[in-house]
């Protein structure tokens, strides 16, 4: 372990940006354009330097930056300390690197928006919170970042808050995350309590790993502590990383500006849950049952969201469900014990999903706000940079070799069959979802860029390629999506024993990807009349998928409406009648009794004298008669 005093600048630089945008930004928009992306770029440079420094250390080394002692409560201590090991280095590089490109792109995308400085203040705050989360040395500090990204997602999703739907989407994200956070906090408390009972009053990751034996033996109420902790923390991860059943906020999160979607879906926020479980995999290793739950939920989410994505017409909504599905893969990887593969997929996904969202933003920008793929088509001729970069990202997402997504997805799938906690059935689910993924990404590209133009006349008049400030980040990300598969991420963060994918599986995955893409091309370019026929043939099932399995409606009926009804009883019944009744009743009681008693006080001294006399006589009578 090597102590340093400059790791903190990775966090402090974006934090300084927040202050700048808040206090100076409104009067200096031109400066915001430089400072906003610039500071994140500087943070990226520091992260690169830190990663190089880390590489020079022997394997298993880590950099630590102790700022100050944060909490001392009885025997419990929490330090404000940062930790850079292989895992957090990869994360910090992805967050700052992809984040920087999104910042640059935003300068073009948000140009002329009234809330330009406010936007960059939120964006930099988002980076700050995510970097705290990633670099934290202990669970309490990680939780600060965890809540920070939750807050920033709320602020950014509801950025255009004048429209009610946007504000509602922000609220939804915040509230759904709250449910997950409750589980996360309970898990942290249980962990702290268990360690505290054995005299270890701290929650830094090194302590947790060192006292695994204590945790392994601990039980509470007959339940194994690692299992409970693992499940509770996973509840938090399902909220933050949009897994079943708490994924519902993520598809709505596209209400925010498109670069924000890219940021949330790729570099920050949703990767928090994956990172947290990878960080605590020492605890999860003690509870194979918890790992199996993680894997099962991940695989189910991957398939479920992929099915929904096949029938969506809003370009951003397809990508949103795609993110949910790909996060499912990451959890499948974590659950089968392939931490390295999961983080690898996180990295490659950050490249191609950020690229897809930014590309979609470029399309929407070029069409003057149109998001419905049914009114796109044939854009290839007008937006060649966007088309080519997005195609690269789509192929990477579909898992076409040798693009980045192919390698990372393959490692996860092969671990599902042969890994340390292999569950082959879930691997099959993952393969099916992979075919669907190829199909819906192919459909997205075909509908948007190929075939005849279905663009409305006014949008066609407006149609243009985006400025270089937007297309250059696309090109850089395209390089990442192309070559990201060459990064040796599993070797860096994974444990020993993570096998390379066998050749047969690689071939099968590539075949499925090709089949999905070919099907999409056949349906949407060669025979564009077919999809409507198939939709009619499928009837009710098609409508169910198109309506996203009506999960929102289900939650609305099961949770939201009963809560509103209960709140209504409280607001119209209990509050005005019972609570106000008690308060007003107390007031009336005091007023009436005091009204009676004040009549005793006449102001006439002789009445007072009479009461003296009566009192004196009573006392006399008492002493005489005693």
């Amino acid at each position: 372990m090597t102590e340093t005093a400059w790791l903190r600048w990775i966090i402090l630089l974006p934090a300084a940006g927040v202050l700048f945008h808040v206090f100076v930004g409104r009067r200096a928009t031109a400066a915001v354009k430089i400072v906003g992306p610039g500071l994140v770029g500087a943070a990226f440079a520091v992260a690169v330097a830190a990663a190089l420094r880390l590489r020079a250390l022997p394997a298993g080394g880590l950099l630590r930056d102790h700022l100050y002692t944060w909490i001392v409560a009885g025997p419990f201590r929490a330090e404000a300390a940062l930790r850079l090991d292989a895992l957090s280095a990869v994360m910090a590089l992805v967050v700052t690197g992809v984040g920087f490109l999104i910042h640059v792109y935003s300068v073009g995308y948000m140009a002329g928006d009234r809330g330009f400085a406010r936007y960059f203040a939120y964006l930099n705050l988002f980076m700050t919170a995510m970097l705290i989360l990633v670099l934290a040395d202990n669970l309490p500090l990680l939780f600060v970042g965890w809540e920070g990204v939750g807050l920033c997602s709320y602020l950014l999703i509801g950025f255009w808050y004048e429209k009610t739907e946007n504000a509602a989407a922000g609220k939804k994200a915040f509230l759904v995350n709250r449910i997950g956070d409750a589980g996360f906090l309970l898990g942290v408390f249980l962990l702290a309590w268990t360690l505290g009972r054995h005299g270890f009053w701290t929650l830094d990751f090194a302590t947790i790993e060192r006292h695994r034996d204590v945790l392994a033996a601990a039980t509470v109420g007959g339940w194994s502590v690692p299992l409970l902790v693992g499940l509770l923390l996973f509840v938090g991860a399902t909220g933050k990383s949009a897994q079943l059943p708490l994924y519902v906020w993520l598809p709505d999160a596209m209400a925010g500006p498109t670069p924000v979607s890219a940021l949330i879906h790729a570099a920050t926020m949703v990767t928090a849950g994956v990172y947290m479980i990878a960080r605590l995999h020492a605890v999860y290793e003690l509870a194979p049952a918890a790992l199996t739950v993680v894997a099962a939920v991940g695989a189910a989410t991957a398939l479920f969201a992929a099915v929904i994505a096949t029938a969506q017409t809003d370009i951003k909504r397809v990508l949103a469900y795609s993110t949910v599905s790909q996060l499912g893969y990451m959890f499948l990887g974590l659950g089968v014990g392939a931490t390295g593969a999961a983080v690898f997929h996180l990295v490659t996904h950050a490249f191609f999903k950020a690229l897809l969202f930014l590309g979609a933003g470029s399309v929407i920008h070029g069409l003057g706000g149109e998001q419905d793929m049914r009114r796109m088509g044939g854009l290839r001729a007008h937006m060649s940079v966007t088309f080519w970069t997005m195609t690269v990202a789509a192929l990477a997402l579909a898992g076409v070799p040798p693009l980045s997504g192919f390698f990372s997805k393959d490692e996860i799938l092969s671990s599902a069959f042969t890994g340390p906690h292999a569950v082959p059935a879930l691997g099959v689910v993952g393969l099916v979802a992979a075919a669907l993924t190829a199909y819906y990404t192919g459909r997205l590209v075909c509908l948007t860029f190929l075939g005849p133009s279905r663009v409305s006349p006014e949008a066609a008049h407006h149609l243009h390629e985006s400025p270089p400030v937007m297309t250059v980040p696309l090109a850089v990300l395209a390089v990442g999506a192309l070559a990201g598969g060459l990064l040796p991420v599993p070797a860096i963060v994974g444990q020993a024993g993570e096998a390379e994918a066998p050749l047969a599986l690689m071939a099968l995955a590539a075949l499925l990807a090709a089949a999905g893409l070919a099907l999409a091309y056949q349906l949407y370019v060669v025979r564009p009349d077919l999809p409507a026929t198939i939709a009619v043939r499928l009837g009710g099932f098609y409508r169910l998928v198109r309506d996203k399995f009506r999960v929102d409606e289900l939650y609305d009926a099961l949770v939201v409406r009963p809560l509103f009804a209960a709140a209504d009883v409280g607001a119209r019944g209990i509050d005005p009648k019972l609570i106000d009744g008690v308060v007003n009743g107390a007031g009336v009681l005091v007023a009436t009794t005091s009204g009676l008693w004040r009549r005793v006080q006449t102001g006439n001294v002789q009445h007072y004298a009479l009461s003296f006399l009566i009192g004196a006589l009573l006392l006399l009578g008492y002493y005489v008669g005693r």
Partner: protein, 103 residues
């Protein structure tokens, strides 16, 4: 001792005077008369002290009587001053009209 009345007589006289004073305080309306009735009550108590002092052969009661008399003198000065000030303001000495010291 010839020509000496028994203690009970003194106490009875004192109680009678006290009662007259108390009734006077309670029933009269003129504050000056109330004031005089208070003096009567004080002197009834003084009489009790003196009688008991004589009967018990102790000087304590007589000493207290001197105190009471001096305090009463001070009280009379202050009380009369208050009454005069009140009369200047309100042009009345009727206790029933001096009832503003209340809710």
């Amino acid at each position: 001792m010839p020509g000496t009345a028994p203690l009970t007589w003194y106490l009875g006289l004192s109680a009678t005077l006290f009662a007259i004073g108390a009734v006077g305080v309670l029933v009269r309306r003129n504050v000056i008369v109330i004031f005089m009735a208070i003096e009567l009550m004080l002197n009834a108590v003084n009489l009790t002290f003196v009688a008991l002092a004589r009967s018990l052969g102790s000087m304590d009661g007589q000493v207290i009587v001197f105190f009471v008399m001096s305090v009463a003198a001070a009280e009379a000065a202050v009380g009369l001053a208050i009454i005069i000030a009140m009369f200047r303001n309100r042009e009345t000495t009727n206790a029933d009209e001096l009832v503003t010291l209340r809710w």
